[in-house]
Amino acid sequence: MNPLLDGTRIEALTGVFKLVVPEIALVGVACVLFVLGLFTSSRFLHTSLAVLGLAGAFAVALVAQPWETTLYDGLKANTEAYYPILPSAAATLIRYLTLAAGLVLMLLSTKEATREIAADYLACLLIAVAGTSLVARANDLVTLYLALEMISVPTYVLLYLPHRGKPGQEAAVKYFVLSILSSAVTLFGFSYLFGLTGSTNLSAINAVLTAANKEAISPLAVLAMVLVVAGLGFRITAVPFHYYAPDVYQGGPTAVVAQLSVLPKVAGFLALARLLGIVSGPLNDLPFPTSTQVPLLLWVLAAATMTLGNVMALMQDNLKRILAYSGVAHAGYMLLGLVTASAYATPTEGLLPRYVSGFDGLIFYLVGYALMTLGTFAILAYLNSADQPTESVDDLAGLHQTNPFAAAMLFVALLSLIGIPLTAGFTGKLFLFLGLYDSPTVTGMGNAYKTLTVIAAINAAIGAVYYLRLLGVIYLRSPLRPAVRHRGKGPMLAAVLCTVGTLVVGIYPSIVWDLVKKATPATAHSPALVAK
């Protein structure tokens, strides 16, 4: 039958723009900002336009949500393959979270985005936010790649925009070259996926590979998976691919580094989860061999990432380098979510109902991670000034005397990064560790999941050392420099928002957890996984 006479299919292709109206609006506003910046350098005008863009996107997303949900719920496994963009429940949640993160990042940048560069800066930020949201709903290799590049390309510009001499240039060039390399590796993996299945649609790829995987392990599929994990590992700073992070974080402008530590990581994890078949579709059948191959690869990656990140962070004296390695370590914790999800995918008898399926723990941790990391960077941006740069650990000495309020907020953020109860970091770690510990032991992996939980717990303890060292410097030492009046309402407001968020998510995790649970049904479009 002629596919052009199939109404569902035509509707899927012609109606695709309706599914990304907020993202289109963000990019449109960014274009207007680029042009507007050429004619006027009124910072008020640029900022209010950017905020309006974000608010507009939010409003449109709210309006579109019921319609999108109805559409998604009506889809079946075979009609899903018609859609290049899939408004899954997880994608809807991520869209709201990304827009909120965009607002915080905009506040954070008010100090560094000076009048001359404000328009370009905000425009690049909006495009990166749109890209992150698009990654979550991309259902086609081409769309996914486009969305990933929509985050990378503005970041190159952002890293270079606030001119900061040699370290800034080094950071920009280093990120540019290595990001292109990682994109090439990702594309190489994509080409294998396309070659194996003959389709660029992710739902189709997943379905075909899952069916093939049931019969025999395909070495080419495993190769494709390894390449994709390697390419996206760069974005999530998984260990063999993390080496750019400390240098780029150290040299880059604080607000841009804050963005770099959140948006690419969210996008990388979502893309990885989608490609591994974890986001939608039956969770007990993944497109890649899950008895040992996938969990083992992720297992090694997670263990190496968190251990190396934490150990290296112990040896740093530069604040941003510490945060870079801390980001590496937290990426290791988040990889536990993917390990859990792929562990549960192993077809085994007698699986019990589980509370954490892996992907939900990952999204929850991403929320907590974004809150506490952005909070820390916001304080650093607030304290940093031309005559009193806040670069090394010693620059924080005696902060509780010179600026008690900022010290208190840093206190909350650092406690959350350690994982002390009543903070978002604790609940996030709890869900991730719990899910991993409950993973089935009857598969080829044996007790490896329990071992990994122990490794993760030891890592959390190592991590506490360098965060507590920072707290000791802030609260126990006397100031080395005279107190100054810090300026920067934007970073301060961002820090307050993040601190409140960290505490709220820590004390009432159910607010976010229920949303996440609703967005990540254990099985979509398939009968319940749980047996017996």
């Binding site: 393959a81 194996l196 003959g198 660029t200």
Partner: protein, 151 residues
């Protein structure tokens, strides 16, 4: 291998992946390797066959690239930043043409599926207009930033 059956995609039924369908690539590789080997063989055999390769060396002829720059010296030459701007601008308009030619040739070519034109004709036209508008913004940006002034 993973797939041995055709796959249903948005664009229609894709035939199953078949490596033998890619035989032109193999011929291409054969031609390239054959050409390189023949050239090498001809130059070396030429020493013994003066009618094939007469020996009349001059200084210019013995340079690595007869009509190019002498590649001997420091590799860390400094290029004027202007050239990079020109290169990026070239890219803007080159990509535009690269995309527009195939589009213009294929989009409304006679002989296509009549249903396609009914369903996608307008959308594709609007899409290309959006693409051109984006390029116009890039052009405007470069112009106002003073890229076209040769300094």
């Amino acid at each position: 291998m993973a797939v041995a059956s055709p796959v249903l995609t948005p664009a229609g039924l894709e035939p199953a992946f078949d490596l033998s369908a890619y035989y032109p690539a193999l011929i291409y590789i054969g031609v390239i390797v054959g050409l390189a080997m023949a050239m090498l063989a001809a130059t070396h055999v030429g020493y013994f066959l003066p009618f094939l390769k007469p020996q009349r060396p001059t200084k210019v002829k013995q340079m690595p690239y007869e009509s190019g720059m002498d590649p001997i010296g420091s590799a860390r030459m400094q290029f004027d930043i202007k050239f990079y701007l020109i290169a990026i601008l070239f890219l803007v308009f080159d990509v535009e043409l690269l995309f527009l030619y195939p589009w213009a040739v294929i989009a409304y070519a006679p002989g296509g599926d009549p249903h396609w034109k009914n369903i996608f004709g307008t959308i594709v036209f609007i899409e290309i207009l959006v693409f051109l508008a984006t390029l116009a913004i890039a052009y405007l940006y470069a112009w106002r930033k003073g890229v076209f002034q040769w300094r």
